[in-house]
């Protein structure tokens, strides 16, 4: 009977402290499993609060103020673009109608080889050192750790043409860190632990010509950047833990400049498509090697006001999971 005696508070405290040490040494694998259990409690209760936060942040986190003259110019530009968009929409509707007919009659169906699972942000990190969000879709929807998560940036008041157009107007917001049955933890692109193989696409602007070094047949030559010699630059990007991404070891002769794009690599197993990540906002010297530059990238999506996201589930992986499930 003495064995069943209620343990003292001191003993419980010592046990818990010991458990903390063991869990800390065990590391992320155990932590991620236990955190999945916490999702069940946090996610259903957190969604209304996150909607409120996203709304407030989208109001306060707007673009920088512009001068009246600039505002007038932008308004004119917006009107012109709106008119052009309307024209383009009409042309596109006509083209799509024609194309649908052609596809039905002769075509083989081709599409973006992924399923976009829509999800909502239910909670954020409890501590400010990480940049993660809890989303309300998980393994049951086909999502798995590593799955890429994008957000759509289109105007939802307008009817959207089928999948291809929606993909072209999306931006990467992060990847899934851990997934439970119905919830998953999304690591934002700005998180200090986020890393991705990506590509820099230089913008060819006739008003702002730039010179790059092109190496052909072992011979280096200076050429003006054009569509002909504008090759994508393979890089590895990582979150800076604050509000952007950093790309190191970018060769200086590529002459990357502000305004260039960082996009996902098309050969990424989790996202086999070019999707925008962000825009280059600063190019500086690499203090460790004078031949390289350090590039800072600002994410294209407004991560502070993130509410609706899409988990990209490659159809091939879904099919193989389904097959594995059937086998089991």
């Amino acid at each position: 009977m003495k064995l069943l005696k209620k343990p003292s508070k001191k003993a419980v405290l010592l046990f818990l402290m010991g458990a903390s040490v063991v869990m800390a040494l065990w590391g992320a694998p155990l932590a991620n499993r236990l955190r999945v259990l916490a999702h069940w409690v946090l996610a259903p209760l957190g969604q209304p609060g996150m909607s409120l936060t996203a709304s407030v942040k989208s109001l306060t986190g707007g673009p920088e103020e512009v001068s009246p003259a600039e505002a007038g110019r932008l308004k004119e530009e917006v009107d012109t673009l709106r008119w052009r968009a309307q024209k383009a929409e009409e042309d596109l509707a006509h083209y799509l109608e024609q194309d649908a007919l052609r596809q039905r009659l002769y075509g083989k169906m081709t599409d973006f080889p992924c399923e976009m699972v829509s999800a909502q942000v239910a909670a954020s990190d409890s501590l400010p050192y990480g940049r993660t969000r809890l989303v309300n879709k998980g393994g049951s929807s086909g999502a798995e750790p590593g799955s890429r998560v994008v957000t759509l940036l289109t105007d939802r008041s307008k009817a959207l043409p089928p999948k291809l157009a929606t993909i072209s107007s999306s931006a990467l917001v992060g990847r899934l860190l851990e997934t439970g049955g119905y919830y998953a933890r999304l690591q934002l692109v700005t998180d200090g632990g986020f890393r991705i193989r990506a590509r820099i696409i230089r913008v060819v602007d006739p008003n702002r010509p730039r010179w790059i070094t092109v190496i052909a047949g072992g011979v280096a030559a200076q050429e003006q950047l054009s569509d002909r010699n504008n090759q994508v630059i393979e890089v590895e990007a990582q979150g800076d833990g604050v509000d952007g991404l950093v790309v190191r070891e970018v060769k200086k002769y590529h002459n990357v400049q502000n305004g260039d794009w960082l996009v996902t690599a098309k050969d990424d197993a989790f996202l086999p498509e070019h999707v925008r990540i962000g825009r280059v906002v600063e190019v500086g010297d690499d203090p460790r090697n004078q031949l390289f530059s350090v590039v800072r990238v600002q994410p294209y999506a407004d991560l502070a006001a993130l509410k609706d996201v899409f988990i990209v589930v490659p159809l091939a992986s879904k099919a193989s999971n389904g097959a594995a499930g059937t086998r089991n």
């Binding site: 818990l16 954020s124 409890s126 990480g130």
Partner: protein, 186 residues
């Protein structure tokens, strides 16, 4: 003595607020990162200031630290480890309990000071252990930046401790029984 049921309920509500609408209170300092208050630290400091039993204080703090560990995983490539924040919280609560008699803890300024000390210690332990556990992906500059972030968080939480303590004192009889201290009042 801590009244566990209302105490745990309040801790859960604060955690929910911190992970959802608490985002409104977070602002970004250029080059440092997001700075927001640690609402659970306010409750833990309150318990450490007024509870009679040090073991109960540390147990309550351990639980709150563990809840924070469970609901935060960003910052490292594969996610952070569980445990460092529960250790940090328990240690910080133990320290505040030990030194509380040296100050006029019923006055706002010492209360803010205690909350700052609590946050600096708890978050300092958390960041140091996480960086140590993932030393291959943490640089000294990153570690320093996060410590600065923790310092700003501590100041922010310290400022919020004054109204926070005032509110908690109103509900004191449901949270901490038999308060101790000068004339047994809050």
């Amino acid at each position: 003595m801590i009244h566990w049921l209302p105490f745990i309920l309040l801790a859960c509500v604060l955690l929910l607020v911190q992970t959802t609408v608490g985002g409104v209170l977070v602002f970004t300092v250029k080059g440092v990162g997001g700075v927001g208050p640690d609402l659970l630290a306010i409750l833990a400091t309150f318990a450490a200031l007024w509870a009679r039993n040090w073991e109960e204080v540390m147990l309550a703090a351990w639980g709150m630290g563990f809840a924070l560990d469970l609901t935060s995983s960003g910052g490292m490539e594969g996610g952070t480890a569980l445990g460092p924040m529960s250790l940090g919280y328990a240690a910080a609560a133990g320290l505040v309990f030990r030194i509380r008699e040296a100050f006029f803890r019923d006055k706002p300024l010492p209360q803010a000071f205690f909350a700052m000390i609590f946050c600096i210690l708890a978050h300092g332990v958390y960041l140091s252990l996480q960086s140590l556990l993932a030393y291959h992906q943490t640089s000294w500059s990153q570690y320093g930046r996060r410590l600065l972030q923790a310092g700003l968080l501590a100041i922010y939480t310290g400022l919020l401790m004054v109204p926070g303590h005032w509110l908690l004192a109103k509900a004191q009889r449901w949270l901490v029984a038999s308060p101790v201290g000068r004339a047994g009042r809050l």
